[in-house]
Symmetry: D2
């Protein structure tokens, strides 16, 4: 993983932190990864750590690259500063997409509370727009400016056909940002025929983040197995919107054809090693086979199966080469 923090705007303390997963030739079905851009909440007064790295980690654990933007807050919060930060971050991610291994058509923004306002703003009135948005107990209505460090535009009247798909969650009795913010935005999405998913849980504290112990600040009210299901449901949703990593490779057949007329990578390794010509090929391509005594030489495992189990040693290319050479061996 490559995790580093880069400064986007020095004067306003705006930074972007990357969480870029390693690539590997074992991840044969992953050429680029979808990504999430995390916008923590904090009333435009701060960017809460509780809604920053832990959120990035959760999506990274699902194979997504992740970014945390710490946007202009407190004395720098004056709108549209934060929106310009978000636009700059999104543009940077798209620009660096190839270098960072990102599918630039699969970038979701996820924001909480005031960060949810910023995520919704980016998705509606942003100069550049993400491909999907996830809003956690978001501020949407202009009236909510009263509890924020800056007056912000209401977003319930900014939804149009260009708005990307949305996933929203909140709790009904949120006593900081009322649930009507979520309902109004749902209503706008529905009228504009923008696809969405929404979960309004019965009860829970504002700012619950993942609703798990490690993001709770120690408050029991911030922990809820039930409310915490939003994360898993957001992943299921993202896979509906973006599609999943491909898993269409044919499962490897372990059946070894002993009566095949030619040798190949589907023969049992032990059988190949018993044939001197085949053995020579194997050892030359995969030196560890020289250690015949201890190796896989006693099990009914084919080279194709072994390669799947040890792709770092036996790459698909190498496998093809061996197959070609083995095929030439006369039986």
């Amino acid at each position: 993983m490559k995790s580093e923090t880069m400064i986007l705007n020095n004067k306003n303390n705006v930074t972007l932190t990357t969480y870029l997963l390693d690539s590997s030739n074992e991840f044969g079905n992953i050429t680029t990864r979808p990504a999430v851009l995390v916008l923590p909440g904090g009333g435009y007064m701060m960017c809460s750590d509780r809604e920053a790295e832990p959120i990035a980690m959760s999506y990274a654990a699902e194979g997504y690259n992740a970014f945390v933007l710490r946007y202009s807050v407190a004395e720098h919060a004056q709108w549209p500063n934060p929106l310009e930060d978000a636009e700059a971050a999104l543009e940077l991610i798209r620009l660096k997409g190839s270098e960072w291994g990102i599918d630039t058509e699969k970038i979701a923004v996820i924001g909480f509370s005031a960060g949810g306002h910023l995520a919704a703003a980016l998705s509606t009135i942003g100069r550049v727009k993400p491909n999907a948005m996830i809003l956690g107990y978001p501020c949407i209505l202009e009236e909510i400016s009263n509890i924020l460090a800056t007056r912000v535009p209401g977003l319930d009247d900014k939804v149009d056909s260009e708005t990307p798909p949305a996933f929203l969650f909140t709790t009904r009795d949120d006593n900081v940002v009322p649930a009507r913010n979520t309902i109004r935005f749902l209503d706008a999405l529905d009228k504009a025929d923008v696809p969405y998913e929404a979960h309004i849980f019965y009860s829970g504290m504002h700012g619950m983040s993942l609703a798990k112990s490690h993001t709770s600040s120690g408050y029991r009210g911030n922990v809820s197995t039930n409310n915490g299901k939003w994360f898993e449901q957001s992943m299921t949703w993202l896979k509906q919107v973006f599609g999943d990593f491909k898993t269409d490779s044919i499962d490897i057949d372990m059946k070894v054809e002993n009566d095949s007329l030619i040798y190949g990578i589907d023969n049992a390794i032990k059988e190949l090693l018993n044939n001197s010509a085949c053995r020579e090929i194997l050892v030359s391509k995969i030196p560890v086979f020289a250690n015949g005594e201890l190796m896989i030489s006693k099990l009914n495992i084919s080279l194709r199966k072994m390669s799947q189990y040890a792709k770092g040693v036996v790459t698909p290319e190498l496998l093809d080469e061996i197959e070609a050479e083995l095929n030439k061996v006369r039986r």
Copy 2:
């Protein structure tokens, strides 16, 4: 997150990669974190990337610090080289525990296949032992040496009362490492009265890792929502063994006592701002309150509540100071 790779043994290509989560004064209930040491599988021929970073990420997403050890394999696999690598890694983590923010009494080792053998070896015959072990489709029996790059000791007869608690999972029809490896180890744990949990799923490919699309190499047989439940069950188990992050703080009572005889942080902020003495205190301690027009000044929110929501701005210490000063204001 601090992610870096350090060389433990240059000659044998042994490295330890850290995944250290950031600390924050918002994580008031986390002083140190438990940790997992990940030992990927690969028949002692390689260390599979599919069982390395993705595993570390999954535990990191639950608030654990994580490490991946790439131990001696292939031509360096000669036992006890890998065991010595694991011992060195564990010792290093314990040594650096304070610096890395780790609870050194809560370090679990998790290994897969050959890495499961190594994890079980560390836990039974290791010079130093982890505090818990998680074994995924592990090699345990001496007979399994036949498919490994080195002859290894059987571990079913090495369990004793010093062995730490264990969590095991595999699939019944694993056609590379038979399930009897898991059953024999369970039997040994049970006889030695070592606490354990075990899940043997009905069917699945060897090397399924998280059984999710992004760790599948594209093979459908490596994906299974059902089998993938081992991860969540391992977390529930770890919390039983290690305990959970504390969540015993009293939930903040939003009820504002207007008839209290003294002012304090449980009064509504708007009420405090209406009192000139209180207002002066607030503004001097938290300058953003000077911007009275836009702020939280209109909602019935107490400073205590706000602080929980914005701990980065209002630290517990600051809160105590303000409480003390407000208490002095005559009503």
Copy 3:
């Protein structure tokens, strides 16, 4: 279980089917059970079996008593016939509550599609009201009358402070009953400060019922693990609204106090059997103890523990009697 179908209105083919769970002195924490009244959908043209018994079964499996109402449909659908049926059913359940072992303050109505309209009507304009409502892809707006067998009143403007708590779910792309029906009702609940929970899933067919194979009519589009989560979430919600079955009994301590000055039900049974006076008491009260050779006589189990494990044999009353007699035995 007592399952029978009673006729409520012969002319209109209105029936109420009961699913009453057996009581048992082993269910020490269940004196009365909450109940659900199921109103299947079917456009007021029919009552769909797919939303009838399978729904009742699901709640019965959670310890709730259940009822299915087949209300006036097709040529009898003329409003307010169906509402009067629902009122009659609810009144009957409340009337028979004691006989049927039901907590009459914990009756939820659950309806689907047109049945969802009927459930919402009962909860808003009903002469009698349930204590909670669950609405699945409900018809709410007057405009939806166009696809129903009767013109019905819109319910979005009927919510008031007397309306019971609500749980709603639907799918965003329902192409029979638009999701705006759900959104409008949510909006009304929110404005009236009626507690609610809501889940609008991204995609799914109208009429998905439990979204499981056995309620699918064989259509793949009716099966979805993700959408099917509504049921579990509805149970979690019901337990928040109604409370759960009590589980506050002290866990039985297996530690046997051998140094106690008096005998009692916390002594090991084998110890009691070794004392002739105690043995006589045990055998007289629980004849199976006469068979001393084979019984629990060799384990360190107390009678209190055994009773918990075999409450049908050792009732709490019997336990009290034995305790009293044992206490009198001189040690």
Copy 4:
């Protein structure tokens, strides 16, 4: 649901209670149902209600028919009385299979504790055998006879190639029936190459049943979300062993082909009603269409779609008839 209790052996108080789900032409993919035969635990001293009807309900909620056998216990427990009861019950279910709508090749037995012993006995030494077995914290070893009301044969040495697939679960620290009972049986299954799945949870009370509040007798120790996952995992397993209800019907395409040359059930109903010949056919077959003003006549819904949504009104046969007649109408 047809629930009734029939006497199998009057002298020994042996009864079989049925839980037979209703059939319906809406359940087009269910001709026969798999079934479970529930054997409650209770040390052969009793049949615990906590492991009887609630278990039957849980499987019934998944579309399975269920049976509870109250076998010979206490003074009638003398082995092989209970085994003969189980054999008789299984034979009766197979005999009545057709009448009761059961797939007689898909009958699973599920037993708990002593009932788990009986289930395993039926599956190994039974005169007739079930098609799968589910064992909850089972008694297996002969030594366990010491806590039972009858001396019973050990079953760990009775497994052979005729033994059906098995699903086992227990808790590691069960202090009534040690987990080694489960481990020994697993070992035997593995050696005989009988397919199995097993979950040994870390900690829990003996007799936890579903581990839910309504089966807890009020003891907190009997409730565990984590341990209670055994039920869901047993269902997933049953579907792997028995297969699932078919869901291979083509999803109905809502796209209405207006340019089709012939009329048919894929045309929008409103279009059909606008054609006098088609209207006549519809009304004659489905009289509710006479009420043209209020009906589905305004939406773009086809008759095929409506039929899926209202199979009770429009059966597949009726649909075919209408299609045939509509096809004859000249366009």
